[in-house]
Subunit: 158 residues, 4 copies
């Protein structure tokens, strides 16, 4: 099981009036982790994550669009000065799209807690034509080690 | 088909570097519509929505917690000075939880466009005990007219 | 005294744990009012404000940069379903910069309340050269009617 | 010269369409630094900053209200994976209020760059009475070492 464990610092502004990280802010945390893990930043020589092969920013040749997101809130998350860990992997590696899976956690081993789990479907779009473009062999090669069983959503029994 | 059509104004700060409403900001727009339609605001004599029977704010006897959200992005949304319309209804009315369904739209009739569709599962929690509490008959009576077939997610064929 | 009275709707997400509009969110409200009043939006035939002569967005020939902001918080602002009014005028009309002055208010006449007052200095920058560019005679003509005494900051006596 | 150098991580969501940290987001970064340096967090045994003696959160006996802020933007700030440093000190230590001064920087020594400088006036308010309350001798003792000449605003020559 190979996952990308991306540390993401919280902010006080993420908390709502209940003193917990707001449900929309949670999605922002996952987005920050995904951008850190998948986007290449031109101003940096070394990327900490081998998966960071997509150009970020509006001037890039490839745009990534979020097609859908599913998120489950399992535990309320209060303020932590230490970053939380967003564990990421791929639940699907399609022709022009990928599913990014997430578990937002603190602790390790028997003290590991999962606060949120989610899946985002991303589509790669050619910036010039505005149409989906195929994942390249190079992209596939660096992402394949992180392909795993998709996150198991609990969903309410009907 | 009875839906609550809640107008929600956009902000420039909702736009990302592509000039579209950011995918996380979309969830914020749905949250604003949901709060307008379901929360009672003590400082107001008249609520515009009959469904607004839940006390808002941290001092309330009932807290509402988001258990899960699923959202699909169908069309990119640029800036509009006129508010968009978030159409809402209930896709499920359980013992202690409800599913709120949404379509974020502009236009009407043959010019109606759906940019986003989503579902949020909310759990009613007794603030004192911290445990789920049952939906009251009064709440059920005002919400029942808005119970409808859940939003049909497109989901990628496997 | 000629002011631009721009209505700005609040959001629940603007509130902090005290139930008041957060101090940083206040600056966001002023920004929304300023963009509405000074930016021309290509997708709209008619601009509601005669002062809206600056192209918005990153592809525009002129960028506007915020050089400084001063803001005073006079009254706490709770949630209002009705938009608040951001009254704006120019406190300075320089060679390449303008000072936008603001009072964020509710009510009118003897019931008018001022919650926040502020000043923002904006510099017009030529997008191609990255250097400040002079205000054109056309811009000066539409803005001059809104030139007024700058907002009087209270500032703590030393 | 004694300053509190608080590291603050950026987020991609702080950037605007120009690829720079948005001017309102800058104020959010300063707020995060201020909260880290001045608020005591009950869930933590050790505070990294000796100045963190104010109770945070809405249940606290003392509320801190922002009375005013002045901020100058000196350099545009692009994305940095490494945290920026918000250097903080007190420019004024009054009876019931303090002025927090900030310089947001990267680098050190001859490579130190200042992107933003600002001042925030905070008032301590007794939560029960809603009225300003005096700074205690204990608070004054821990804050006094950080009292320094206020940040020198450039302000446009008239």
């Amino acid at each position: 099981m190979t996952r990308l464990p991306v540390p993401v610092p919280l902010r006080w502004a993420d908390l709502d009036a209940y003193g917990h990280v707001n449900n929309v802010a949670m999605l922002r945390l996952l987005e920050e982790a995904r951008i850190a893990a998948f986007w290449r930043h031109p101003e940096e020589q070394d990327e900490p994550w081998p998966t960071a092969v997509l150009d970020g920013g509006p001037g890039a040749a490839t745009h990534t669009f979020v097609a859908s997101t599913e998120i489950e809130y399992l535990l309320a998350l209060g303020y932590h000065r230490e970053p939380v860990t967003v564990e990421m992997w791929l639940g699907h590696l399609g022709g022009a799209s990928i599913d990014v899976c997430y578990q937002l956690t603190t602790g390790a081993g028997s003290e590991r807690l999962v606060y949120v789990q989610a899946r985002t479907t991303l589509v790669l779009v050619d910036a010039a034509s505005g149409r989906p473009r195929r994942i390249t062999p190079e992209e596939r090669a660096v992402w394949l080690p992180y392909l795993e069983v998709p996150v198991a959503m609990r969903r309410r029994p009907s």
